[in-house]
């Protein structure tokens, strides 16, 4: 087994640092939000994870397409890595969201567009893994996986659009803010914390995907060896 590339080692260290700093900025540096108080500090991680989560799903759909065109297994590994990591982050988003929702809307959950979309999206990618689990031929697994990520990638935004038909209590900072929604006003320090959180999670995201891809190729090697053993 080839040793861990130094670049990856460095990235590991770096992402740990980034996380530490982001945590500090979120929990200590950023001022307490007036309306909601300290819970609002969840916000920085909430968005951070949500951002990389969505990013990963888009990447997955992209590499799925590339796989279908090139039929090169490495794109399949890339796709799996992206989905796996994103599913995890997105789960964190939802959990943090719920934690935040408890005081903010005094309920764990409401069926507002973004929440519902988040849930549906999560389900889509869980289904993705169940689909893959059902096949033994790796080549077929890759093909079907790619097709499904494509479908999911297209369907999720439409879902979001659709559910927008209902009224929403989920605040919107990004994109068109409807009049009826109170907009959280971010002070400069908050912005710093906010954007650094985004940055930090992006770094961690890349780091994890890298690891996952390496794992994937190692798994393949193990398979090869096992095949030799059984011969």
């Amino acid at each position: 087994m080839q040793p861990k590339p130094t670049a990856l080692k460095m990235l590991d260290v770096f992402s740990v640092l980034a996380l530490a700093v982001a945590t500090y900025l979120a929990l200590v540096f950023a001022p307490t939000e007036l309306v909601m108080g300290d819970v609002q500090r969840v916000f920085y991680f909430h968005i951070g994870t949500a951002w990389v989560g969505l990013l990963g799903f888009i990447i997955a759909a992209g590499s799925g397409i590339v796989y279908l065109v090139t039929k090169d297994m490495k794109w399949d590994r890339f796709e799996v890595a992206a989905v796996e990591v994103s599913i995890m982050f997105f789960l964190i988003t939802i959990v943090l969201g719920s934690i935040w929702a408890r005081p903010a809307w005094n309920t764990w959950w409401t069926w507002d567009p973004r929440l519902t979309t988040a849930a549906v999206t999560e389900l889509i990618y869980i289904a993705y893994f169940m689909l893959r689990q059902g096949m033994d031929d790796p080549e077929k697994r890759a093909r079907f996986g790619a097709v499904y990520t494509l479908l999911g990638g297209v369907s999720a935004p439409i879902t979001f659009m659709v559910i927008r038909l209902f009224r929403s209590i989920h605040p919107v900072v990004i994109g068109a803010a409807n009049a009826n929604q109170e907009k959280m006003s971010m002070t400069g320090d908050m912005r710093v914390a906010f954007f650094f959180a985004l940055f930090a999670f992006t770094v961690i995201f890349i780091d994890l995907i890298w690891h996952r891809i390496r794992l994937g190729s190692l798994e393949e090697k193990v398979e090869q060896l096992k095949l030799k053993v059984s011969m």
Binding site: L68, V120, L123, I124, A127, M130, L131, Q133, G134, M135, D136, K140, R143, F144, A146, V147, Y148, L150, L151, G152, V154, S155, I158, T159, M161, V162, I163, L165
Partner: protein, 227 residues
């Protein structure tokens, strides 16, 4: 050498084949029908609603029924091809693969519409609501098109997996949420006596969804059936 048949001819052949086979055995449609009735029955017991509320959820109950019965039909209709290797037979024919997709999708759609055409009157008798409005029928058509368009593609994948008997709904439902949702919205609106303009948004979404997903399925179906 002989020209291979046009996409249209091949599609037509497959649809005819499915229809006459179904006309013989009635296996698929009867299964879907019985299942739909069972679902309605269960709903009836499960949600003992007073008439007023019942009215407000009619659209929802109907579409849930269609969705469940639909997966049943989609799964079976593809399993028929898989079980005795008929899918290979189709793939061996000198026709474009998308003919297979369109053929199966269209026959699935027809089956679904037949089932709906029977469920609707039954339902309206059971709960005496009038479900026969041109608008509603249009919405049901649009919704069913979208549902079968995706469903056919996914069922072609599902039947090739080890967990074929359970996988389809899990794959289909989350992807089909937009269709179901806007169908429910549109139908609900109509049943509540709304005029077309008021339900334009869900209608547009339905149309967009149908077009987009037919296009996608058309493009990727090869990858699903080839080995």
């Amino acid at each position: 050498m002989r020209p291979s048949p046009s996409l249209f001819k091949a599609t037509l052949a497959i649809v005819k084949k499915d229809l006459s086979a179904e006309f013989r055995s009635r296996e698929l449609i009867s299964a879907m029908l019985v299942f739909s009735l069972l679902v309605i029955l269960i709903f009836n017991f499960a949600l003992e609603l007073d008439v007023k509320v019942r009215q407000s959820v009619t659209a929802g109950v109907l579409w849930t029924t269609f969705a469940f019965a639909g997966t049943l039909g989609l799964n079976r209709s593809m399993a028929v091809e898989k079980d005795r290797g008929c899918m290979d037979g189709l793939l061996l024919a000198p026709v474009d693969r998308s003919a297979i997709y369109f053929g199966k999708a269209i026959s699935n759609l027809i089956f679904m519409l037949i089932v709906e055409a029977i469920v609707l009157p039954v339902y309206s008798m059971l709960y005496n609501v009038n479900l026969f409005q041109a608008g509603l029928l249009g919405v049901i058509l649009l919704g069913s098109i979208g549902y079968t368009a995706v469903g056919t593609l996914l069922s072609a994948m599902a039947v090739q997996t080890r967990t074929r008997d359970v996988l389809l709904p899990i794959l289909l439902f989350p992807v089909a949420v937009p269709v179901l949702l806007s169908s429910v919205k549109a139908s609900g609106g109509l049943l509540a006596g709304a005029a077309l303009p008021e339900i334009l948004t869900p209608l547009n979404i339905l149309i967009v969804y149908d077009i987009v997903f037919i296009a996608i399925a058309f493009m990727v179906f090869d990858y699903v059936v080839e080995e």
